[in-house]
């Protein structure tokens, strides 16, 4: 028979599970919830809690050791559930809902039809693919629970993306959501299999690195076992590989504007090359130089056709500036330093192998380069003439909604090359801070954002109308 301390812990755990359930229940019933995804998520939280309460009630108390182990794991499981409950506290972290976010949800569904997405704001100044909810639930719950029953009707993937609250209004910066969707694509494509194979190939190099570091007595490394070192290096490689592939997928989702968006967002706060002062960024993220070079190496395909416009137009200039920037980044790179050059080489090999694996595969979520070449310049011209870039003429009296990616590209193009905002995000090795009054620039950006957001909204609603019309057999004709 178990001792009294373990027995006494059982009702406490049950109470905690019931408290989490009570917290989730109003959201599950749709009280104070504007986003149906939150209600759906809360409904499953309630189901999970119910199952846990049953499990706790039925705990076998005959074996002390077993009971105490069960209680320990259930305690940590409930801790994880309590953390998930924070998703329902909307006051702290509002969930964004707007027509202009619809395309992101569409892309996620094109990656996997049984996927749902919540976009939240957070105080931290970073974009992140925070969690895949179902995976978190499944990892935390005891295997005795029937997950199949609990998650009946729940999406196969339920993604939560966080974006900085301070940038939530900024449609241009929402471009970076493409990178977060890239993480989801990485997962669905099972690219970790490539990392396993290439890490295995480089085990002798990793061992050499360890021995070298051990001999030199490098702080922090000498106290590690080789297994810990191997785990550390594998973690760095896997993380950097995932980041680079997510960038590459982002380029395929939104086109060349991802380069500009990444630069505009990243470089004011970070230098091109991380140092150890950048903490985890230094270890787990490729440097911005590496990220830009990976993108610039692949951006060409969008510009190859003559459809992008004649010589001397802004599209040609954009393409040339990107090439010049690529050359400048290559020429100004710091000399490689061991041991990170070894890690970088392994990561590069992973990226090349993944690119080769994915070459030629059809991606329903990708932005068609011909649409880019056909739409971006006319949309840019509309912006210059202060006409909303929401549609394009396709006949004498007919218009068609522009694709959302083309609007984003035209907007970034205008933002980058319009001297009124003087950002010059493309033409200088480092973002140049101008002497112009930052407040004036901020107001100009707010106004520009409003203009682009409404244009995007119009294009999206127009497209939705056409899609519905096509399914209604001429009712609207």
């Amino acid at each position: 028979m178990a001792d009294s301390v373990s027995i006494a812990a059982i009702p406490l755990l049950r109470e905690k599970a019931l408290a989490i359930r009570a917290h989730a229940e109003p959201y599950a019933k749709g009280i104070h919830v504007s986003n149906p995804s939150i209600a759906l998520l809360a409904g499953y939280q309630v189901r999970v809690c119910d199952a846990l309460v049953t499990l706790i009630t039925d705990l076998d108390t005959t074996d002390e050791e077993e009971l105490s182990a069960d209680l320990r794991r259930l305690f940590h499981c409930i801790l994880r559930l309590a953390k998930l409950s924070r998703f329902f506290v909307q006051g702290e972290s509002p969930v964004l809902q707007s027509d202009i976010l619809v395309p992101w949800d569409d892309v996620v569904k094109k990656v996997h039809p049984d996927a749902a997405l919540i976009i939240r704001t957070q105080s931290a100044y970073e974009f992140e693919a925070r969690v895949e909810i179902r995976e978190v639930f499944e990892k935390s719950l005891p295997l005795q629970l029937s997950l199949r029953d609990i998650f009946r009707g729940f999406p196969r993937y339920f993604l939560v993306f966080n974006i900085p609250a301070i940038e939530a209004w900024n449609v241009l910066h929402q471009t970076l959501l493409a990178h977060e969707i890239g993480h989801f694509i990485y997962k669905c494509q099972r690219l970790d299999d490539i990392a396993f194979a290439i890490l295995a190939k480089h085990l002798p190099d990793i061992k050499r690195l360890f021995d070298d570091a051990f001999v030199k007595g490098l702080a922090g490394v000498a106290s590690h076992t080789y297994e810990q070192f191997q785990e550390w290096v594998s973690g760095i490689v896997a993380s950097r590989f995932k980041e680079l592939m997510s960038d590459i997928f982002a380029l395929q989702i939104v086109g060349p504007c991802i380069v500009t968006a990444l630069r505009d967002f990243g470089l004011p706060g970070y230098s091109l090359d991380f140092t150890s002062d950048d903490g985890t960024m230094f270890l787990y993220y490729p440097s911005f130089r590496t990220r830009f070079l990976a993108l610039l190496k692949r951006v060409d395909v969008f510009f190859q056709s003559d459809g992008s416009g004649g010589n001397g137009n802004v599209m040609t200039q954009w393409c040339e500036d990107l090439k010049q920037w690529q050359a400048a980044l290559l020429a100004s790179g710091p000399p490689p330093t061991s041991p990170f050059s070894t890690v970088d080489n392994i990561v590069e090999e992973c990226v090349d192998a993944a690119s080769e694996k994915l070459e030629g595969s059809t991606c329903r979520w990708a932005y068609d380069r011909q649409i880019f070449q056909h739409e971006v310049l006319p949309l840019y011209n509309r912006i210059v003439e202060k006409i909303p870039p929401n549609e394009l003429r396709c006949g004498e009296h007919q218009t068609a909604p522009a694709s959302w990616q083309s609007i984003l590209n035209a907007a970034w193009l205008s933002y980058s090359y319009n001297s009124a905002w003087a950002l010059d995000v493309l033409r200088f090795p480092e973002t140049r801070q101008t002497d112009s009054d930052p407040t004036v620039r901020h107001h100009a950006l707010l106004e520009f954002n409003e203009f682009i957001a409404r244009s995007l909204e119009m294009a999206i609603v127009h497209r939705q109308f056409l899609n519905q019309k096509s399914t209604m057999d001429g009712v609207f004709d």
């Binding site: 077993e66 182990a69 069960d70 320990r72 794991r73 940590h76 499981c77 801790l79 994880r80 953390k83 969690v131 995976e135 978190v136 499944e138 990892k139 935390s140 719950l141 005891p142 295997l143 005795q144 099972r190 970790d192 299999d193 990392a195 396993f196 194979a197 890490l199 295995a200 085990l203 297994e227 810990q228 191997q230 785990e231 594998s234 973690g235 490689v237 896997a238 993380s239």
Partner: protein, 160 residues
Amino acid sequence: MSEFERSDILELANIASAVNKTLRQYERAHTLSNHRHILARGRNLIGYILAGSLRSEPEVVERLLPEGADVYESVRAYRYAKEVWTRGQDSPLDDAQFFTTLHAYAACLDQIESRKPFDEWSPAQVRDLSGFTHFLRELERLLSGKLNSRHAASLIQESA
């Protein structure tokens, strides 16, 4: 320790516990019902460890982990398993012996799955089964300890 790492450790601890309970039940009753899912997770656990070693045949890992594995999660599983494996040994054993033992553990799961009568198990296979339950219990202990110490560290950090 990141939130993701905690989830991974909790998942491994949950698998180790459930598989251990199921195997002990089998040792006692020589029969099982509704066990398919738990045994599959047991195979997953061995798959994580083998994949995380970075030295295993991809085909073997693929069989144990048909849905694929996450690099970081697997290399961590390998380290924890190796820690348990080397803990009780008088002299250090190499990975080859470790892998042979893991394969023997996976074979135990296959035998139960295929409903091979227990009295047809060889003495070596019975020993493997017993070794497997011991390994799982120790692994779960180690992982629970890690979760507890990380939780305590978070509490100290939050109250500092």
